[in-house]
């Protein structure tokens, strides 16, 4: 591969580190040292700590290159076997297995086989702290080509690619750049939005962690196109690893003459710096983000004047999402037309999704636009955990939508889902099975947004509070006739009247769950029944004595000590102690825990 040596790639994305990947890497390094392999001229082995390789649920992941053997769920104790397998048989027990078949190469694993990596092409392959490795895989080639072009030619190339803002809004990136380039007000700014605050989303964080130079290269090209000499990376404060990697990459780029007074000796100047986000979800909104950079309270403003004209410090500013910027180097290197061949007619290229929830293979996936949700969940994700029935997929959380089974065969792109009252969103995807209560899901997101609403405009501030009160009432059995219609009225007012996108989209989880799962709302209100058996005040639990094997799992899981634990005999739940948390149902492997409507 690189330098013609053998490489052992150890995934050190956030998920794998949490599962002990750093210890695995150390163990492998120690093993190589003791065996003297590293000094051997014939077998030169590098242990590389890479960014997220995607299949987080199976981590830590170790991959041998160039032979391409991928090991899953590796423990430090597996290090000797892995080092032995460099020149021998692959370690069987660490390979990916599905339906009795084992898969050695990464591309053979169905999780990876259907993916198409553009943004993530280097993530999980290179050491993110090593500039040379990025360059060896074509890094900064796009920038070199951009330096031979005029700003107009660069923008034309991006327009040809059809790239649209991948933060979820889908605004054409080329058009945004052309507008900003048209203003003769200096200085201009380029800003990268890395304030990914959605619960369950980690696309941008993983990109910044695993391939920071791709984001930087995209920003430099953008700066050349619009004539900016200063750029800001606004990163979410919780992303400590991403911030470290970006800072390291910026320092390397300065040292190599890629950033600074003269980009690669061209005479163009660009300074980049990181601004740490203040922790507010609303700071992902463009004008609130700029206010936050300026040192003011992170609140949005009315956008009568767009930020491409008057943005950061009242100067023309281009703000792009991490994923959009990380697509730019490939577009410049391979040409806009090549990029436009991927995807659908109106949504070009690829989209990264963070797939989590009740799906077998959670993780980071990148697929061409137009891939169906069914492919994402069942072919790539491997289906629902325990093969339970699918209920809904939540996209673009938390101001996203809940999509039911009937829409799973629609292609995922910017426009198609919108026609059916849903949307693609920024890339977070939460898969839910039949044990999710859609009213409770809506209540959860409204509660989150209620905390995160900045409170500047009335529809968002008051609308969310009232929706939260009504939804809590419904979940606790105090729902009234007319509540559904009232929720819809509040939601539509928020969509029409709110100041920024947070408020305008905040009603989405409520409105779409009403649209697609109205029967659940009605069951809560009219019969005081939670069909999914989630809402504690409406549900009681019982154990099916015939199905129960007396294994003791549910008894151990119960936090209230409400389940009797006789050996080898059916358990019994004491209703006086039961807090209806559902832990026993999650723990039981024999479907012996039943839920029923609780009498008022």
């Amino acid at each position: 591969m690189i330098n013609g040596t053998d490489r052992i790639l150890v995934c050190c994305g956030t998920g794998c580190i949490a599962n002990g990947a750093l210890k695995v890497a150390e163990a492998i390094e120690a093993k190589i040292k003791t065996r003297g392999l590293a000094d051997d001229v014939a077998v030169d082995v590098n242990v590389v700590r890479t960014g997220c390789s995607g299949e987080c649920e199976q981590g830590p992941i170790v991959r041998l290159m160039p032979r391409d053997v991928m090991y899953y769920k590796v423990k430090p104790a597996d290090a000797p076997a892995i080092v032995d397998s460099l020149s021998g048989e692959a370690v069987k027990k660490l390979l990916f297995k599905k339906d009795g078949q084992t898969y050695e190469r990464m591309e053979d694993n169905p999780f990876y086989a259907l993916q198409h990596k553009v943004v993530l092409k280097d993530v999980g392959i290179i050491d993110p702290l090593n500039l040379d490795e990025y360059i060896a895989r074509g890094g900064y080639e796009g920038l070199k080509r951009a330096l031979t072009m005029t700003p107009d030619e660069i923008i034309t190339e991006v327009e040809k690619s059809g790239l649209r803002g991948k933060g979820g809004a889908g605004f054409p990136t080329g058009r945004k750049w052309r507008t900003a380039a048209g203003y003769d007000v200096f200085p201009k700014y380029i800003v990268c939005n890395g304030d990914e605050g959605d619960p369950g989303a980690f696309m941008d964080g993983s990109t910044m962690e695993g391939s920071p130079h791709a984001v930087i290269e995209g920003m430099i090209i953008g700066a050349l196109a619009i004539g900016a000499e200063e750029g800001v990376l606004y990163t979410r404060d919780e992303y400590a690893l991403a911030r470290d990697h970006i800072q390291h990459a910026i320092d390397d780029a300065y040292a190599a003459g890629i950033l600074g007074e003269s980009i690669l000796g061209s005479g163009h100047k660009l300074d980049l710096s990181i601004v740490r986000g203040g922790g507010a979800f609303v700071c992902g909104e463009s004008t609130a983000l700029m206010a936050s950079i300026e040192g003011r309270v992170g609140e949005p403003r009315a956008k009568y004047i767009r930020s491409v004209q008057r943005g950061l410090f009242d100067h023309p500013t281009v703000l792009n999402n991490v994923e959009s910027l990380a697509s730019i180097p490939t577009i410049l290197r391979e040409g806009g037309e090549a990029y436009a061949k991927i995807g659908t007619e109106k949504s070009k290229g690829t989209k990264v999704f963070a797939m989590v929830g009740k799906v077998k293979h959670t993780g980071l996936v990148e697929v061409p636009m137009g891939t169906t949700l069914r492919t994402l969940i069942y072919d790539i994700g491997g289906g629902i955990i325990d093969d339970r029935p699918f209920k809904a997929i939540q996209t673009g959380c938390p101001s996203g939508v809940c999509i039911p089974e009937s829409l799973l065969d629609l292609p995922v792109d910017f426009d198609t889902l919108v026609k059916y009252g849903a949307m693609m969103g920024s890339g977070g995807m939460i898969v839910m099975d039949d044990r999710s209560c859609m009213v409770e899901v809506a209540r959860y997101y409204v509660d989150f947004l209620c905390e995160e609403s900045c409170g500047k405009c009335t529809p968002c501030r008051e609308g969310l509070r009232q929706m939260r009160a009504i939804l809590t009432d419904i979940c606790e059995g105090r729902g009234k006739h007319g509540d559904i219609e009232l929720l819809e009225r509040i939601g539509h007012t928020m969509q029409d009247a709110s100041l920024c996108a947070l408020g305008r989209t905040a009603a989405n989880p409520v409105l779409t769950t009403i649209k697609f799962f109205r029967d659940e709302y009605e069951a809560h209100i009219e019969r005081r029944e939670c069909l999914a058996g989630v809402c504690a005040k409406l549900t009681q639990f019982a154990i099916d004595a015939d199905a129960c094997t007396g294994c003791g799992m549910s008894s151990r899981a119960c936090p209230a000590g409400a389940i009797s634990c006789g050996r080898r005999e059916a358990h019994v739940i004491d209703p006086a102690k039961c807090i209806a948390c559902g832990s026993c149902r999650e723990a039981c492997r024999f479907n012996a825990v039943l839920t029923e409507r609780r009498e008022a």
Partner: protein
């Protein structure tokens, strides 16, 4: 700010100058539109509380 216009609010003909805020014109003609942020103390915070939004 010199061009004179006549607009109709709730069926009432109102004289105003081009560039004026609708809220001010309405108030002068005895029509109260609720708002929190309409104050000259806020240089650029106009129309941000969104209480004054009406359907047309």
């Amino acid at each position: 700010m010199s061009e004179k216009l006549t607009i109709t609010i709730d069926g009432l003909a109102c004289e105003c100058e081009k560039g004026e805020y609708l809220w001010d014109v309405a108030k002068r003609n005895g029509i109260t539109i609720p708002a929190l942020c309409r104050s000259d103390a806020f240089a650029d915070h106009r129309a941000c509380c969104r209480i004054c939004i009406v359907e047309v």
